[in-house]
Amino acid sequence: MSRQDGRGTTPPTGSERFYNRIAVLRTERGLSRQALADAVGVNYQTVGYLERGDYNPSLELAFRLSELFGVPVEAIFSRQPMRPMSEELYSRTASAGGG
């Protein structure tokens, strides 16, 4: 997921931008940024860059986050702006109940 062209930490723009729920998932689990950083093996500042969408992680790091949070990668990252989890959850419940 990271850009491998070497431009490094230039904030992704336009079609390069990924949206994520890392901050929500981290807060739900009561993790500090430092704890999350230690758990996935990155610098704590990198967590801030990830949460703001200023840095797109590599596939390896994305899967590490997925494994840590216990949710699929697509539940953490998206190319579209994320809807609130509660909204997404209720819409699924409603569609399941209605179907």
Partner: protein
């Protein structure tokens, strides 16, 4: 629930080959090549070098708080600017030669390199040494930053250093000559500095400012440990001391010692020399300016008088007008005269301009003057 993933923990290890270690090696080499052969630079300079080494050790062992003042963007860019300016000054500093100002040039060069070492240490702390870190010591974002900094630094180095060398080599004989002496002097250190530290400079310059949210958790911890306070104190002392001592050259009252005694040797027999009724005295004056960064100027002359005129027996020729000793300063003789007026009064004047190699804009005029009338009255000394 949090899963229990098999995560590879990356521990930040200290890299074996860093800009800091390279510059320390340069410093040790410089000490070996500069201080030992020339000697006489004063015990304080050796003490200062030990202070630098202690500062390096303290900074390396201090617990650095990411997001603290040293990592602020304005501080990082300030460090980059200071290093760039120091490199420019180094390029303009010739190699020590076997002339009378050897100690001055060599000492100034040494001070600049010591200053550069301290700046490099601070830069390493400000960038958390990411620029020189191996892959195993950085995460993927830092790795991308580091690689980008190295790419940019490569281009900047090639254009700045390579371009300058090529242009200087083909432009004229003068620039070719400059290229030669520069690389035998401070230019060599500037070259090595840019070769090894430019990526860290690029990184420090480009890395964005920390977001408050990125550092909040860290800032909640005690801000400074005792080790950090000691390191910051030593850093301030190390960086401020050379400037302080350089300024002292201009502001510290000079220390003067004078002696007047009977001639220790036989008078010279020369045309116009005094007759048997002549009285002679030997005048010796020494004036020290500055402390540590200092110059010792001396006036030594033998004067004779016979009631009609005062004449010199020896001393204060052009060859006498040079400093007795210099430590890290440049002494330029602006006046060296010996005159006898119509009343038979003899005046020796030795006037110099003293400036530190580190702060050449602080200049002090030092004058040693001896005035003796025809009856042997000392009107001024010094």
């Amino acid at each position: 629930m949090i899963a229990d993933p098999p995560i590879r923990q990356r521990r930040l290890r200290r890299p074996a080959f860093t800009a800091t270690r390279v510059t320390l090696a340069i410093l040790v080499g410089l000490l070996t090549l500069t201080i030992l052969p020339f000697g006489g630079m004063g015990a304080w300079l050796i003490g200062y070098v030990f202070l630098v080494l202690a500062t390096c050790v303290a900074l390396r062992n201090a617990r650095r708080q990411p997001g603290s003042w040293l990592g602020r963007r304005v501080v990082r860019r300030g460090l980059v600017g200071l290093i760039a300016v120091t490199c420019v000054v180094l390029v303009a500093t010739p190699a020590p030669s076997n002339t009378s100002d050897t100690g001055s040039t060599g000492g100034g060069l040494l001070l600049l390199v010591v200053f550069l070492v301290v700046l490099n240490i601070a830069l390493g702390g400000a960038t958390q040494r990411v620029a020189a870190a191996p892959d195993s010591s950085v995460d993927e974002r830092q790795e991308a930053m580091r690689n980008r900094a190295h790419r940019i630094a490569y281009v900047v180095f090639a254009v700045a250093v390579g371009g300058t060398a090529v242009v200087a080599d083909v432009a004229s004989q003068q620039t070719r000559s400059w290229l030669g002496w520069s690389f035998r002097g401070g230019g060599l250190f500037a070259f090595l500095e840019l070769l090894f530290v430019l990526p860290a400079m690029v990184l420090a310059f480009l890395e964005p400012e920390f977001r408050p949210s990125d550092v909040r958790e860290v800032m909640e911890a005690p801000r400074q440990s005792t080790g950090t306070r000691i390191a910051l104190t030593l850093l301030t002392l190390t960086m401020g001391l050379p400037f302080l001592m350089s300024v002292l050259v201009a502001v510290l009252p000079p220390r003067t010692a004078t002696t007047i005694q009977a001639p220790s040797g036989p008078l010279r027999q020369q045309p116009g020399a005094p007759s048997a009724t002549t009285t002679c005295r030997e005048f010796f004056a020494r004036r020290d300016v500055g402390y540590g960064v200092q110059a010792a100027l001396q006036l030594h002359a033998q004067v004779c008088w016979d009631g009609r005129r005062a004449v010199e027996d020896y001393g204060m020729n052009q060859s006498d007008c040079h400093p007795d000793g210099t430590d890290l300063v440049t002494v330029a003789t602006t006046q060296c005269t010996r005159t006898t007026d119509a009343k038979g009064t003899l005046a020796f004047t030795y006037r110099t301009s003293v400036s530190s190699g580190l702060t050449p804009f602080f200049t002090r005029q030092v004058t040693l003057q001896l005035v003796v009338d025809r009856n042997g009255n000392v009107l001024q000394f010094p």
